[in-house]
């Protein structure tokens, strides 16, 4: 990262920007295990956090790292971890603990081509469903996907804020292109990001109940080790944190952790639209693929095709609202993703057959080229 202080124009890498966003949002604890293409985030945090009184720990693996950020968060820290697919797989069990025990934390996954070790230095968008359903059991998740370096700053800060607001783990889905890309950005001024403060109980409050237990809101979260003593467990628990098998209490708990996020799906939706006003063919995409789709929309317009782009920044919870609003004017929806069909299933669910939906996937470890998407759209229109 470097640039001119006077003009605030910096040439910054996506991973660096993610770290800058985290620090701007008050992240003061990072545990992790380095992995390509995410290692620059750990590198930055290792250098930077000690300078501002934070803590960086390189753990023995990603399982322990995920446990560490959960523990730090319980004690009141704003905590974050960064990894790629193989590490994200290892974190899934503890991610479920954070969902059930309602512990805020941010997990950055810079996606590379999988499965398994796959292609460490090549991009993919293959972890979209893993972010949603990688940990077992019914739960909800928030996941955001930036497409520019500036958005890496903004959305990382947003992840921190949402995790605190909803007391839940939040996933930032980058891909290798966005994580490693350097782009000129005008860095926002210090204090540009307002982070939702964790709801805290007062020290004097009697009968403190640390968990949701089905209430529509998010209960205050006392710092572990403070005046309020409470129990934290991965067993399904009641409002006080003690294990329960009472059907009504179990049902309340599970619906509670899902509803607090899923019922807010439309409020949490962040989109960017390009030429959607009069579009008949809608490209629906996210992350680096959406940048290519945007270039393709411009070319298609030049060729007289009424194309538009809906780029989602909020992947989960998925909001179908905008798609349903646009559906009546559309002849088709085309979904380019660097996978063989993941978020497209949500698009199909949202429009429920009202518009034909076609997926366009690429899984050879390379980003789409604009002509590929353009040609695919032209063929679709012709058929």
């Amino acid at each position: 990262m470097s640039g001119s202080k006077e003009r605030s124009i910096w040439v910054m890498q996506g991973n660096e920007a993610c770290s800058v966003g985290a620090v701007a949002a008050g992240v003061n604890f990072f545990a992790g295990y380095p992995i390509t293409p995410s290692s620059e985030i750990a590198e930055f945090m290792a250098k930077h956090l000690p300078l501002i009184g934070g803590r960086f720990i390189q753990m023995e693996d990603e399982i322990a790292s995920m446990a560490a950020i959960i523990g730090a968060s319980l004690a009141g820290a704003r905590s974050m971890i960064a990894t790629s697919g193989p590490g994200f797989s290892l974190m899934q069990e503890n991610l479920g603990l954070a969902c059930l025990a309602e512990i805020p934390c941010v997990i950055v996954n810079v996606q590379r081509a999988g499965p398994s070790t796959g292609l460490p230095t090549q991009p993919a968008q293959g972890d979209v469903m893993q972010a949603r359903w990688g940990t077992h059991g019914d739960h909800a998740i928030i996941a955001l996907a930036p497409a520019t370096v500036l958005e890496c700053i903004e959305l990382t800060a947003c992840c921190v804020s949402l995790s605190e607001q909803f007391r839940t783990p939040v996933v930032l889905l980058l891909d290798e292109v966005i994580g490693h890309m350097r782009e000129s950005v005008e860095v926002p001024a210090q204090g540009a990001y307002r982070v939702h403060a964790r709801p805290l109980p007062s020290d004097e409050q009697e009968d403190y109940q640390p968990f949701c237990g089905g209430c529509s809101g998010v209960p205050p979260m006392a710092h572990f080790g403070g005046p309020h003593r409470f129990h934290v467990t991965g067993l399904t628990h009641d409002e006080r944190g003690f294990p329960t098998m009472v059907p009504e209490e179990v049902d309340k708990k599970i619906r509670g952790i899902v509803d607090k996020i899923e019922l807010k799906a439309d409020d949490l939706a962040m989109n960017e639209e390009t030429m959607t006003d009069d579009c008949e063919v809608l490209l629906f995409s996210y992350g680096s693929s959406a940048r290519v789709a945007k270039a393709s929309v411009r070319t298609l317009r030049e060729r007289g095709v009424k194309a538009g782009l809906l780029r989602v920044k909020t992947i989960w919870p998925f909001s179908g609202k905008r798609l349903r609003e646009l559906a009546p004017q559309l002849r088709s929806i085309i979904v380019p993703e660097m996978n063989l069909g993941q978020l497209v299933t949500e698009v199909e669910r949202a429009v429920a057959g009202a518009v034909p939906v076609r997926h366009f996937g690429r899984v050879d470890g390379h980003l789409f080229e604009p002509d590929q998407i353009t040609d695919f759209v032209l063929e679709e229109i012709a058929s």
Binding site: S2, G3, S4, R7, I9, W10, V11, T36, L119, P120, T121, Q122, V177, H180, M181, R182, E183, S184, S288, R291, V292, K294, A295, R298, L367, E369, P370, D371
Partner: protein, 186 residues
């Protein structure tokens, strides 16, 4: 920049360890921080720590840059034979093709400028690792993609302290070699 449309694409290719990523980063910074243009730099390399194919694309534009990689390359630098073979087809017909003639025997294209970057780095700068900065000096002289002053400022601001003079010299060596090479061609 001579191109009429806003977009200018540079591809630096070679082998891991030649310093191409750093060269790309410096060029992007020179264009944005000092030149006021939008830039995007992407990279591509294998899982090896050293060696293996390595490539970086720098897209410079006065407009927003959507597609972040190069598709129709204006300036291609090849620092190995393998990279010359792989990427020369990505170059535009009237694009500028520059190879390290110390390491590339067969550029595979009639219109090419050969400069022995690595040899110049060894002989005139004392170490092969200056080859990337020598190459930067040459391609900026040949393409005028950024102002010379912007390049020099960027390089001096970014290199480890104590190496400023050596890097400044490497830039000048590249510029001089480029001038000579063009003289020979024309």
């Amino acid at each position: 920049m001579t191109k009429s449309s806003g977009r200018f694409e540079i591809r630096l290719s070679g082998s891991g360890g030649q310093g191409l990523m750093l060269a790309g980063k410096l060029l992007a910074e020179a264009a944005s921080v000092y030149g006021g243009k939008n830039t995007v730099q992407t990279q591509s390399y294998g899982p090896e720590a050293r060696g293996g194919k390595s490539k970086t694309d720098i897209v410079i534009s006065t407009d927003d840059i959507d597609y972040p990689k190069a598709t129709s390359v204006d300036v291609l630098v090849a620092m190995t034979q393998v990279s010359a073979d792989e990427y020369r087809h990505s170059l535009k017909e009237d694009g500028l093709f520059v190879v390290d003639s110390y390491l590339v025997d067969r550029p595979g294209r009639d219109s090419v400028i050969g400069i022995p970057f690595t040899l110049l780095a060894i002989e005139q700068c004392g170490r092969a690792l200056f080859a990337n900065v020598v190459a930067l000096g040459a391609i900026v002289e040949l393409s005028k993609v950024v102002e010379w002053d912007s390049l020099e400022k960027t390089v001096l601001a970014r290199v480890p302290s104590g190496t400023e003079e050596a890097n400044k010299k490497a830039l000048a060596v590249g510029r001089e070699a480029a001038r000579r090479a063009v003289g020979e061609v024309s």
